[in-house]
Symmetry: C2
Subunit: 349 residues, 2 copies
DNA sequence: TTGAAAGCGCTAACAA
DNA sequence: TTGTTAGCGCTTTCAA
């Protein structure tokens, strides 16, 4: 066999344990433990012998065994439950959380919920079974009482983007209602009177907030609420595209659209393109997305800051893990209107 | 205190253990273990009592303790080392791996390497310390011998996008050389003779492959290799934009560009936009990205299939975890040229 | 400064 | 079918 030894050279060799290292170094188990954990009270020559033995045996401490015995039982691992690890909002949040975690030597378990409440419960359970020190959740469910046992057992908990329901926990939210109102007001300010709304699944609290913001802005402008211009429950780009096409195919179509989410905005753009009306019908989307500024017209959005939300959530989580027992807080991260062109088109037709 | 008990009602309550469940149910520890693990040989009335007790105590099995004792020591957790969890290639791969893992009850630890070899070694170590059953790696380093000890200890290992070096392990690769050659041939076929190349960090094997493919296609077309039209080591959109601007500002600028990576393609688009030449200079990018089809002109790409690569990598990994000891394999996933407009522009100037 | 003994929560091996 | 005992790899506690 060459040095490129592969996966086929026989059964797995057992890993070296602390015992093995102790035996090779001629010291006790506890001395090895002290050296490995950087505890004081070991003379340098002895420590050196231990390190040499560990190196020779390619020793890797077993964190599972360690945290089983250690008081507090920390695993140096946290869980992150996201709508979908592959969506830009989730993955920007993920990266920000990771950066805070890695700096503390903490590993991150991530999973996608697909807006499925059962999946949330299942995956939170899977993480709890692995004894994560904390959980950052962008929830899909609407009753988070099932997490109370974990919380009482000492698992830190931070909700992001959507508040905890029937549970008291920290939260980091974007102000979707004010942000949406701001986006719609922007359209009103450019002269629009018939503004369509395209929204995500109505059971999602953020989708409700954004619709409410849309209504707030209409009311503030003295415009009638037109339920026939509102389409909710759009789960995919395709559904959003169809809904936008339907709205624009009406006898008196809206002169502007407000899209309540990432993928919905993209569906609306596709619909406008297909009709060749992207320079005629104004569009403001909630939540920014990559390349929005390179489209023509560039897309005006109400931008959230997923990275800031992730960093904040991780800081809150680690503060709890470090023993903070202050009353829970809800932090609201502001949104920001980014005018790029599509939202500044004047009404036509 | 209300039922919305928060994080401030005193010290954490200890978790119920199997012992506690056994005591409450009036059975032995082992009987609880059998019920929890769905092992046969427990009568239904007894099993029911155990389940009731577990429910009452909100019992959660401790997977760490379980895998410490269990022969094989599986943790039902795998690690995923990616260039950056927030980049579209990585996150599409991540999602595909997750889907295979979750179906098996396996959790996924994910981390970003940022093309930093030291970070790779550190994070692989952090995962090994947590005794992951397997590791899927898109490596940043160029010597993977450091993983041999893990491999021998039974950790399954699959490399994605870049082959293992000085180590024998399974790999799932895209055929970057052939794909890039295909993209450049496409430009040649549309009449281009001066084709610029913009590439990622030259130390990355895939970047080298793609540059080689570019050269292959030029040679096959009888065109001279023009090192002055090649720019490598572009790490960011901004760097790619500058490099593209420099190339296009030459006395005899290229009539077409081949961009060797995601972000580089976007930088090239920004440069062309800034010059107002996006309808004059042809562009083919390696690796697809969201909304490429909505830009004007829509962007012709050599598409990889990160989801297919992730699914395949996960399947290979779990086959190894399940005991497959066949010789290691390298699977090459084909790329696909997607003509959308930018790559079909004729030469000008 | 160093080490011996006990035990974290669980499963393997074996006994009743 | 059910239970008992030992011990996974490590840290805690306490003694030398």
């Amino acid at each position: 066999m060459t040095s490129l030894s592969g996966s086929d050279d026989g059964p797995a060799q057992p890993r070296a344990t602390m015992r093995d290292v102790a035996a090779l170094a001629g010291v006790s188990l506890k001395t090895v433990s002290r050296v490995v954990n950087g505890e004081p009270g070991v003379t340098e020559p002895l420590a050196r012998k231990v390190r040499a033995a560990a190196e020779r045996l390619q020793y890797r401490p077993n964190l599972g065994a360690s945290s089983l015995r250690r008081s507090g039982g920390r695993t140096a691992t946290i869980g992150l439950l996201l709508p979908d690890v592959a969506n830009p909002f989730s993955s920007a949040l993920h990266r920000a959380v990771e950066d805070v975690a890695v700096a503390r030597g903490v590993a991150v378990l991530a999973a996608s919920l697909d807006e499925d409440p059962d999946r949330e419960v299942r995956l939170a359970g899977a993480f709890a079974t692995r004894r994560v020190d904390g959980l950052i959740v962008v929830p899909a469910s609407h009753d988070h009482g099932y997490l109370r046992a974990e919380q009482r057992a000492g698992t830190a908990l931070v909700f992001v983007d959507r508040p905890p329901v029937l549970l008291d926990a920290d939260a980091v939210l974007a102000d979707g209602r004010a942000g949406a109102a701001n986006g719609v007001r922007h359209l009103v300010g450019h002269g629009h009177r018939r503004i369509g709304f395209l929204g995500d699944l109505a059971t999602i609290t953020t989708a409700q907030d954004r619709l409410q913001g849309y209504r707030d802005a209409l009311a503030a402008a003295g415009l009638a609420d037109r339920p026939d211009l509102v389409r909710s429950d759009l789960r995919t780009v395709e559904q959003a595209e169809s809904a936008a096409l339907a709205l624009l195919g009406r006898r008196h179509p809206p002169t502007a659209l407000f899209a309540g989410q990432n993928l919905v905005t993209i569906g609306a753009i596709r619909a406008l393109r297909r009709l060749g009306r992207q320079h005629e019908v104004a569009l403001v989307g909630f939540d920014d997305f990559p390349l929005a500024d390179l489209l023509e017209p560039a897309v005006t959005v109400v931008a959230q800051d997923p990275a800031a939300m992730g960093t904040l959530a991780a800081r809150l989580l680690f503060a709890r893990i470090d023993g903070d027992t202050d009353p829970t807080t809800t932090r609201v991260v502001p949104t920001r209107l980014v005018p790029r062109g599509s939202g500044e088109l004047p009404p036509r037709g």
